[in-house]
């Protein structure tokens, strides 16, 4: 039982070349893998663009380009928040409800056809405040009461929708009266639609938050292992609440922009956004389990879905089949992406 091996071993000297070689292999593999996934998404996107432009020459025009960008703007903004939430390993289903509540609050406090008060910029503050309250409520219920985010945000969807419905009441549809704001979202500035500029700003800020701030890094850490986050003394609670608040704020911003885009206030102004945003995040390659993924990938995902939808209409696919074609392409894309990584020990949930 008494060992003398070690002292001898030290005498032999520690040969670290094997370790060095392994380290360099690791680095090379990591670098390649970092590129591989977004690359296959970009390839898929390129294939779609080529196919659609062959099917209809109007597909590759500036005006359609701007159209696609306008349509992707609101999902992009909301998806930045959704990505953060999914990176936590949670999910935010409340998107459409928050959009409705925020949009209704905003338009009823802005110059609108129903009359009432016009609070100008304060309308933005109060409306986003509503979004913030909903987000913080989701976050707190999720973290403090430990209710799964799926249920919290599902409930919050209905709560938001309920608030919007009650605000809507039984009066006329509120229409936007401010001529400067009407159609603002799709107006072109410096070659791009205004709403897309907003989306770019949000994406930029999102990337900054994720890459370079405490909230962002702890978010990734929580997605990897919350147990370790807690035992490392990191502020898991605050970060989770903050992420839900950010997500709700962005949904709220999306709700206001959607209201501007439609020119009328409606409790269901966000309808359909959830089913673009979540698939976009997933297609982008962000893991639903949390910890892996990023905002730029989500951006690709949103573009993929928007272009797919736009391209199917432009190439005249019968509308009954559109969901099937989208679904089939989605299945093909994820199977294609996962095929090379198949391994008998890999766990995909």
């Amino acid at each position: 039982m008494v060992h003398n091996a070690l002292s001898k071993q030290s005498a032999v000297g520690i040969d670290t070349t094997a370790i060095r070689i392994r380290e360099s292999v690791i680095e090379r593999r990591a670098r390649f893998r970092g590129l591989a996934e977004p690359l296959s998404l970009l390839m898929a996107l390129a294939v779609l663009i080529v196919v659609f432009s062959l099917l209809n020459e109007r597909f590759l025009t500036t005006s359609n380009f701007q159209n696609v960008l306008t349509q992707s703007a609101i999902p992009l903004i909301v998806a930045v928040g959704a990505t953060l939430v999914i990176l936590l390993g949670s999910i935010d289903l409340s998107v459409e409800g928050v959009m409705g509540a925020t949009g209704m609050t905003w338009i009823l406090l802005s110059a609108n056809s129903r009359g009432g008060v016009d609070l100008g910029p304060w309308a933005w503050v109060i409306a986003l405040g509503v979004a913030l309250v909903l987000g913080v409520a989701s976050g707190l219920i999720f973290t403090a009461l430990k209710v799964p985010s799926f249920i919290v945000t599902l409930g919050m969807w209905y709560v938001g929708l309920g608030i919007a419905t009650m605000l809507y009441g039984t009066d006329l549809l509120p229409r936007l009266e401010d001529e400067g704001l009407k159609g603002w979202t799709s107006r072109i500035s410096f070659g791009l639609p205004n709403s897309f500029w907003v989306a770019l700003l949000v994406i930029g800020l999102g990337i900054l938050v994720l890459r370079s701030t405490r909230i962002g890094r702890v978010t990734l850490a929580i997605g990897n292992s919350e147990t370790i986050v807690r035992s490392a003394g990191l502020p898991a609670f605050r970060v989770k609440v903050a992420v839900f608040a950010i997500a709700a704020l962005l949904s709220g911003l999306g709700g206001i922009l959607a209201t501007v885009q439609l020119d009328i206030g409606s409790p269901t102004v966000g309808s359909g956004v959830l089913f673009i945003v979540i698939p976009a995040v997933v297609i982008g390659g962000t893991h639903l389990g949390g910890g892996k993924g990023g905002i730029l990938r989500t951006v690709l995902g949103v573009f993929l879905l928007t272009i797919l939808n736009n391209g199917l209409i432009l190439s005249g696919v019968e509308s009954s089949y559109q969901s099937a074609v989208t679904g089939a392409i989605l299945v093909a894309a994820i199977v294609f992406a996962a095929w090379s990584q198949r391994d008998r020990l890999r766990v995909a949930k």
Binding site: M1, V2, H3, N4, A5, L6, K8, Q9, S10, V12, I14, D15, A18, I19, R20, I21, R22, E23, V25, I26, E27, R29, A30, L208, R211, S212, T213, R214, R217, L220, A221, G223, N224, S225, I228, V229, R230, S231, A232, G233, L234, P235, G291, K292, R344, L345
Partner: protein, 510 residues
Amino acid sequence: MSDVTTPPAVLRLDAVSKSFGSNRAVRGVSLSIQPGQVIGLIGENGAGKSTLLKILSGNYRHDEGTIAVNGREVQFRGPADALRAGIGVVHQEQSLFTNLTIAENIEVNTPIGRGGVNRLGLYNWRRLYADAAQALDLIGSHLNPKTRVSDLSFVDRQMVEIARAIRVSAASHTTPLVILDEPTAILERTETAILEREISKLRDIGSVIFVSHRLDEVMRICDRVVVMRDGELIADRSVDDVTEEELFRLMVGRETHAAVRNRRSIEPATKPVISIQDLTRAGSYTDVSIDAYPGRVLAILGTSGSGREAVARAIFGAEGFDSGSVSIAGYSGRPSIKKAVALGVGYVPAERKTEGMVGEMPADQNITLTHPGSAAIGPFELPRRRLSLARLWFEKLDIRPREPEHMLQDFSGGNQQKVVLAKWLNSSDLKALVLDHPLRGLDPGAAETVNAQIRSVCDDGTAIILIPDTIDEALDIADDIVVMRDGRISGVFDLGHDNPATLDLLERML
């Protein structure tokens, strides 16, 4: 223990206790640590070492007693408080964020406004990488701080953890206290050597609490050894006045059991149970041929990166290979885990928590998961019989506490390992057992029980393929030794007639 008041003890525990329900994991532990001391903390699996350390790291709150750091009494409300007090920890369980880079993991606790995090809370990546590289350099590692932890091997991960613990301690302005809970359990000897050197260096800047089941290591590294048993601190000795045997007795409560293995030679007619021929996997191992015979223990030695684990996994069908063949009991078709198990192979993986056990399942269900034995009739399970079957194994392998209906994750590491072993032993027809670091994290007493069990299975005619922690473990139990280096076999010994010295083996490994 010591009446000297200057300098104040880095850490002083006074009658600290902690219970989980009715289980008093730590009972009235008093201990004081002076600056520059390396304290070895040893004890059986489940003795309460980790629990004590988790109290110190703020993960658990103690029920009774006081803790003073640098002479000031502290109340840790959470891990953050402990960090602030200058206590850096390497937990027994792996605790790195595998999706983040090495640098982020090391710098994860850097307070805002310091190091790579500016006052606005924004990260300065260049600074972060530089700091991390420096921290790694301290422990002799040259890993690129930009590497993601998921790409690292066990060993490298452990290095990162230690670098982080040291960094946390050094970042506070107090005398650092570094707590290492079994940091060497998953390290190979070469890495342990580096680590030992580093721990010795830490003496100059602070103090260390070091937990290990390897008594020789403890004797070499530490100044003082404290022994825990059943949650109590039962001995506190200077390394100079204690021997390994004495420590063993203190821990386990009995003398070491030195069994000498009667080695048998292979009878001429015997066919190997497992025979691998020219097995090659690019970048991992090349032209490996090994035969494992019934009733014999075959140990594969090698350093990390030698490819021995990959070979073991290939035998079990868990990983593919590029060329060559694996034949189990005459079958050499397409390998898969299911096929291997059907042919009577068992595998105890090195990563027990993730691959070896379903932690959130009761121990009895883990035991019968693969081979239900008498606990199932056809597809139907019989919970009562399952429980009594599990009780049998609990007795036989001395798994404690004797409560097979408890979640496996609530057992201590050593006992979990025994349950994993029992899962395979429960087979009525176990032809071969592949053991990847089976004694990892086991206390010497438990290690002996497990070893005895392995021997007994082997004597019943099962072939054992063992990837041991140490050369001595191999010499202790093996009939055959295969040495691997850089993916190739560099030596084969039949201990029936060869008698290799440790140094011979070591030379072939390095």
